[in-house]
């Protein structure tokens, strides 16, 4: 798996300890698999920014609905 996916899953599990990262399908929308409210989403994005330097603006939230999509988004920004 993509190392950024691994990172995001780890951040997710840190945020919500009840989540089993192995049970998350990275290609499916995250909100269908785990319960995250707007504060959790912000906290996750903050953690992603802290670890990758990529800040996802709110208008791009629809583009990063799954773990894999968020990883691709982050990797693309980091490369560019």
């Amino acid at each position: 798996m993509n190392p950024t996916c691994d990172l995001i899953l780890r951040l997710l599990a840190d945020l919500a300890p009840e989540i089993d990262p192995a049970a998350v399908d990275v290609e499916l929308p995250l909100r269908d698999q785990v319960d995250l409210d707007s504060m959790d989403t912000l906290t996750l994005m903050e953690a992603v920014a802290e670890h990758t330097g990529v800040e996802v603006p709110e208008r791009d939230y629809p583009l990063v609905g799954s773990v894999a999509a968020l990883a691709r988004y982050t990797d693309a920004r980091r490369a560019g």
Binding site: E18, D35, S38, M39, L42, E55, V56, R59
Partner: protein
């Protein structure tokens, strides 16, 4: 002469009667500042880090780890700072000078604690009198067992027997002196399973000890009542499905269910009291929040991620300002009379991961700007979800906000948290048909509700509050 300060078990919510010291974060000799976390305390609802409001040097930890004591019991003493070394200082300060400070302590318990102190002769070397570190003790198995049941450490007691040996009477006297209810281990276990506070059960054992039989008798379900160990359903408006985690139908076993059950039971007691005592009136209105939604999007676009604002913070900030303008919705009904609060201590309802709700408080919310409210809310939610609140988070709120928007609920008709007199409810922002000037358009709409205590305010006052709240939300840039 400088006084030493008594540090008491704080009340961490209107429904808390007792707390268990799980861990001390300080030791005798440590210097503490206001705001320092001194202990981890277990209540019915949560494990909570408690803070000191005073500066000083810890002179004595009165209550050992693992011991449950009623709210108001002295659990530690601090010596004043700057009057010499802590050890020299302590022997010079008479115990009778102890003065209760915040958190409040009951006078009779202070007296009892002081008498207990006076019973032990002060060590000339200035060692805390009842903590002889280097003296091996002869303790009989009976005494040891009694001590364990009373959550006392016999090694740390000053005995009255030959060679200061600890005798049975010493343990019983200590238990009584501390005001602690003695609870047998079996009773404690049964109480935990039942989500009961064992110290609230009438004890019929030796010297009033609460036994397993007492707990069973206390908790015997009547016809139609739920048996021990099942989850008590609570009013839907205050117990929404937790966003944190999906709970397996039928429960996930007793061990997992326990904390949740205790939390639910505490909520159930509070809500029962509310419904029994408070004559509620409910008002609701719809707001076009296009301005707020647009302002949030624009603002967050230009801010670094650490300074983004969520709608929840805007709603809290606006409510705090509106509450400050409407004193009859901001305060408490106590002993048959309304007592207005002198600031807005804003209760929020936060879902815990693993189930249950907590209502931590943003103190003096009207004097915090929007960024600060957002920052405080962020920290509060993190602490709730990590299960480590601080004592200050549970300052009694003067008005509470419940926001069910995250659950997709349109509207909430809330239940007031006694002794408060009002609760503001927010639903989700949805696009709805909005008629304006003879035209119908789709607009983001927010449903706002107010539950008020009719003994204190009425529909007229409530409507004025909602009007002000609506106006504040019209101008988020001014919040």
């Amino acid at each position: 002469m400088a006084d030493r300060t008594a540090f008491a078990m704080p009340s961490l919510g209107a429904d808390m009667v007792a707390g268990t010291v799980l861990a001390w974060h300080v030791q005798p000799g440590d210097r503490v500042q206001p705001g320092d976390l001194v202990a981890l305390v277990d209540t019915d609802k949560s494990e909570i880090e408690i803070e000191t409001f005073d500066a000083g040097i810890v002179s004595e930890l009165v209550v050992p780890e693992g011991m449950q004591v009623p709210v108001g019991t002295v659990i530690a003493y601090f010596d004043p700072v700057g009057t010499g070394s802590p050890r020299d200082d302590r022997s010079a300060v008479p115990d009778a000078e102890a003065e209760p400070t915040r958190p409040a302590i009951l006078p009779d318990q202070a007296d009892q604690a002081d008498q207990a102190d006076a019973a032990g002769p002060a060590d000339p070397a200035g060692e805390p009198a009842r903590v002889p570190h280097h003296e091996p003790r002869v303790v009989s198995p009976l005494v040891r067992r009694l001590a364990e049941e009373a959550h006392l450490d016999p090694e740390r007691l000053e005995g009255t027997g030959p060679g200061k040996q600890v005798r049975r009477a010493d343990i019983e006297a200590r238990g009584a002196t501390r005001g602690a209810t003695r609870v047998s281990p079996r009773a404690r276990r049964l109480a935990r399973l039942a989500g009961l506070d064992p110290t609230a059960v009438v004890g019929t054992g030796p010297a009033g000890t609460v036994t397993g039989v007492d707990v069973l008798a206390h908790n015997r379900p009547g016809p139609g009542q739920a048996p021990v160990g099942t989850t008590t359903p609570a009013p839907a408006t205050t117990q929404p499905a937790e966003p944190g985690v999906a709970r397996a139908p039928g429960g996930t076993g007793r061990r997992d269910g326990t904390a949740d059950d205790r939390s639910r039971r505490a909520t159930a007691i509070l809500m029962e009291r509310s419904w029994r005592e408070i004559p509620h009136y409910h008002l609701a209105t719809r707001l076009d929040v296009s301005t707020m939604v647009r302002w949030l999007a624009d603002t967050n676009e230009t801010r670094p991620i650490g300074e983004r604002i969520l709608a929840a913070a805007v709603l809290l900030r606006a409510t705090a300002l509106a509450a400050a303008r409407h004193p009859r919705l901001n305060g408490w009904w106590i002993d048959g009379a309304f007592r207005p609060a002198n600031q807005v201590d804003l209760g929020t309802v936060v879902a815990r991961r693993g189930g249950g709700l907590l209502a931590p408080t943003i103190t003096d919310a009207a004097s915090r700007d929007l960024g600060e409210v957002m920052h405080t809310l962020h920290d509060l939610v993190q602490r709730v979800r990590r299960g480590r609140l601080r004592g200050g988070d549970l300052t009694p709120a003067s008005i509470t906000v419940t926001n069910l928007g995250e659950l997709g609920v349109d509207e909430v008709h809330g239940v007031i948290h006694p002794p408060q007199v009002a609760l503001v409810g927010f639903g989700a922002v949805h696009e709805e048909a909005w008629a304006d000037g003879g035209m119908v358009a789709a607009r983001p709409v927010l449903h706002v509700s107010l539950a008020g205590d009719h003994r204190v305010s009425d529909g007229l006052a409530g409507a004025a509050f909602l009007t002000d709240l609506a106006e504040l939300l019209e101008h988020p840039e001014q919040l």
